[in-house]
Assembly symmetry: C2
Homo-oligomer: 119 residues x 2
DNA sequence: CTCTCATATTCATATATTTGAATATGTTAA
DNA sequence: TTAACATATTCAAATATATGAATATGAGAG
C-alpha cells in the first residue's frame, strides 16, 4: 500500500492548506497571507500535495491557483470524511477558515480584483 | 490537528502490522514470522503504533500481545473504513492475511500452545 | 541456579524531511 | 525596457526517521 498520501498528511501546514482548499481554490499568495507562512514554504507544501495527487494547479496570468483534485476526493471518500470531520473540530483550523471567509466577504481575494491585495 | 496518526501510518511495515491486528491480537514473534521482519524492527514499529494510541499491549508470561485499541476504532471510524478498504485491495496485504489465516488453521500460533513455534 | 526464549533498548549510521535565505523564471504594469 | 510582483527552485543546515547489530531485561524450563 502506498504511503505517499499519509506522508503528505503528516504535516500540520499541509493539513491547514487542505482545510482551506476544501472551501475553494486559492493562489499561493492568498495561502501565504491567511496562514502567515513564507512564500517558499507554501509553495513547497503545495508541491508535495500536488505530487501526492491531492491538489491540482492551474496558472492564471501571474497567479498559480491550487485546488483539491476531484478525482482524489472520489477515490478516497472515507479519508476525506475523516479529514473534514477533524478539521471542523480543530479550533486552529476553524480560525483559518474564518479568516478566509472574511476575505471573501470583503472581496479581498486575488480573483476579486486586478489589484494585488496581498503583500 | 495532531499529525501523530498520519505519521504512524506513513510506513509500509506499520500498515502491514495494522492489517494483521485488525483480524486478531498477535505477539511480536508471530508478526516477526508472518512479515519476515527482524524482532527489533517489529518491536520498534509496534511501539510507535502504541505511542499513537492505535494499539494496546498486554503481557502474557513471556509474550507481549498487541491488539488494536478499541477506543481508537470508535473515535476514528472513517479512517478505519479507509484503511480496511485499502488493505483489502492490496495484494501484499492480502497475502499477509492469508499467511495468518493458514497459521490459525494449523493452530500454529503462540496462543495455541506452550511450545514455541516461531524461531 | 543456569540456560533459553521473547522482547525492549541502545548505539551508530544512513536516509528523509523541514525550513530560511538567496536566487531564478516568467508576467504585468508603467 | 525597466521595475514590481508571483512563484518555483537551489543551497545549506537542522531535525526527524529508519534500521542493523549488539546488548539488556525478565520470564519460564530444566
Amino acid at each position: 500500500m502506498n504511503t505517499d498520501i499519509f506522508k503528505a498528511l503528516s504535516d500540520e501546514s499541509r493539513l491547514r492548506i487542505l482545510n482551506l482548499l476544501f472551501r475553494r481554490e486559492l493562489c499561493v499568495c492568498e495561502l501565504e497571507s491567511i496562514l502567515d507562512m513564507s512564500q517558499t514554504n507554501v509553495s513547497r507544501h503545495l508541491n508535495k500535495l500536488k505530487y501526492a495527487n491531492m491538489v491540482l494547479m492551474t496558472k492564471k496570468s501571474k497567479w498559480a491557483y491550487y485546488s483539491i483534485n476531484d478525482q482524489f476526493i472520489k477515490e478516497n471518500d472515507h479519508l476525506i470524511a475523516y479529514l473534514k470531520n477533524n478539521f471542523s473540530e480543530d479550533k486552529d483550523f476553524v480560525r483559518d477558515m474564518k479568516i478566509l471567509i472574511s476575505l471573501e466577504e470583503d472581496q479581498a481575494l486575488c480573483s476579486d480584483s486586478n489589484i494585488v491585495k496581498f503583500v
